[in-house]
Chain length 455, copies 2
Amino acid sequence: MSNANPARGMRDFLPTDVRRREYVIGIIKQVYESYGFEPLETPAVENLETLTGKYGEEGSQLIFKILKRGEKLSANDKELADLALRYDLTVPLARVVANYRNDLPKFFKRYQIQPVWRADRPARGRFREFFQCDVDAIGSKSVIIEAEILSAASEILQRLGFEDFEIRLNHRELLRALLDKAGISESQHNDALVAIDKLDKIGREGVSKEFAQRGIDDEAGNNLFDLFERISRIGAEIKKDGFNINGEILAELTGFLDSLNNEWDDVLDQLKDILNLSGIDDSHIIIDPTLARGLSYYTGAIMEIVLTGGDFAGSIGGGGRYDELIGMFGKEQIPACGFSLGLERIIVVMTERNMFPADLQNASADVLVTIWNEDSAGESLKLANDLRSKGLRVLVYPEADKLGKQFKYASQVNAPFVCVLGETELAENKVTLKNMQSGAQETVSREDIVKKIQS
Amino acid sequence: MSNANPARGMRDFLPTDVRRREYVIGIIKQVYESYGFEPLETPAVENLETLTGKYGEEGSQLIFKILKRGEKLSANDKELADLALRYDLTVPLARVVANYRNDLPKFFKRYQIQPVWRADRPARGRFREFFQCDVDAIGSKSVIIEAEILSAASEILQRLGFEDFEIRLNHRELLRALLDKAGISESQHNDALVAIDKLDKIGREGVSKEFAQRGIDDEAGNNLFDLFERISRIGAEIKKDGFNINGEILAELTGFLDSLNNEWDDVLDQLKDILNLSGIDDSHIIIDPTLARGLSYYTGAIMEIVLTGGDFAGSIGGGGRYDELIGMFGKEQIPACGFSLGLERIIVVMTERNMFPADLQNASADVLVTIWNEDSAGESLKLANDLRSKGLRVLVYPEADKLGKQFKYASQVNAPFVCVLGETELAENKVTLKNMQSGAQETVSREDIVKKIQS
């Protein structure tokens, strides 16, 4: 008798789990398809060299490597692995774009919802196999892309039932302009960004300390923090009064950058255009100059979606423009902008907030048909097929058994109705229909069963 | 610049490929759900020990093993791997049944459609990552299970558009009874079954030779082959005349087994019941006493579905009852019956036979909306969102560009319609709608677009 648990950090998805995932994925796919994004799937297994060097040193440690096989696995070989499990969906996308450039349209908009594997230490909410849910648009530098990506993400969240989401929007070049203007030299920009990324968690004092440790000028830091605080006040004020919050923030940023110097006008215009074109209500989107996002490959707009409500605050998605990454397997640079929804986190929050439709809970069947005895089994199966042809999901009790046991099984699988086809019913060409919730029973003609069940 | 190909034996699924797979999987799921089967998903990665010893010596060679990580990977360790990729869906099911026995209903009917990985030598139609599509019902020995599994598989094939499928039905115990009766001793049964399994390919002469090589009595072999030929003749005859083909075959088998000895009546009754209860038309199901099916774990009914038409003859699914396998991770034996549809082969045949709906080919969007210039981009996006809210899939050209280029892109992505929103159209609150197939253009009011596109 072996251990029957799934491997460490891996999960089995029992029927209710699968249904919940499929419900969320179904809405995501429907919305992305309505925006013309197309599905892409890549294999779980990639050549190790495809992944090597793409995820930094820390990432490399987390790649699951696959042992060479047969004669390829020689004892003297230093490299024991030749393949590896997919680590994210971006590197495979870059590989696909390079490999099928001529088969893909000029602008390739794809979504991809597949598991990835990381040999991380498992923890609450952190698994070694988890789904990523990426959307990327390739081939255009236009902000129409950013606007549509945010618009789609916003529609997905609304259709899933989220009301307390806030899209935070920033721009890498704006951030660098602010750092410049504040007096932080370009060589210190990356250090500063790493520290600013923690502003949410460690506050102004914490970031100030990090600035000091990294030798960033005190006054420069204060210039920046003062600006951030003014903008944060605008955010807080507007929520009460209904002003044009993002307009005020943009004005503040324009002032800080110096309106006489229009070097940065293009970046501010991009943000304005994204806001306007996305059509997202101001209550769900805000320009946040403190948003840094860790990944170094972003080159333009960056965005993050957070839930602001109560116990479940935190990020449920993020992305941005990365114009210099997708060409890594090819000869040319290809502009790209992408967004990743935190599918696993969305499912956790929806579960804790009871946001799934009630009928996902008892979805194994709409009705159970009983078997009276072996001779009448054929009649029960015919009835079942008849009900299926009318669109019902029908479970047949697989054996002739005591009715009590058959009702008990119906409860166990949460079937809301049971059709009893006993001797009397067969003789009269009728069915006794039991409502499992109310316990009510009535004898109805076969034609009326579907109507009764649906009402 | 790295190699951009997928790893050996692995496939990328571009949008049209994904859509085809999803079309087939969608119908399979819908039908299985209508029979009360529930979805199960298990992780791609299993503990190596979970898989070890489950697939025979040949199978063991084909398991992809995952290298240990960090300090676990010591140079002195003989075992370099601790995890492995899922090799089939049956062992994970057995593990799940053992692990969640108390959470699962008494009868657990599950379907599972997930990839498996085998380090096989890639060949035409043979991949190292491929989908399996299994349905299994656990907990009952009743033939109602077999009947429903066949009925569901038959419905799936019909809904996919297959007309030339034939279900071959046999029973492991019937086979053994026939061997006994023919005069083949029990110790030679397995040898005989291995040879009979090849009857389709190598014919009576070939199997006779193998019998001789394995020391099986010549007369016993001839008894058996004569029976098989009589039954084969019944099959051929009936197809012309519309007799009760399976009734005739059962009568022939009963005669051969000796009607005075009713030891085997139960097995013949099981086959009769499966035929009757499944409700499948005689033109699609036939009792075939030569069907052996390789896997040794079957204990009762065995079945296979073949396509009989023209170039694409061959098996597209198979299964049977295996009452002694599913308990491998637990303490108790649990009866089970399962069926596996050959998803990859079904997709190949459907592609070659052009069985996919035409609109899967140009499914990236129902309509492309053009961008006239940067100032009117907002209007184009509004129009797009309006059309989406009415259920259309809408692609927006991401940039202001020459109209000719935008039409060219619409062709490239097979969008059947283009909405042009130019200066005149904006002024008049209308849209020019171009039918990309006919080339016809007409100016319509915004309200009429959806109607025009759908008609």
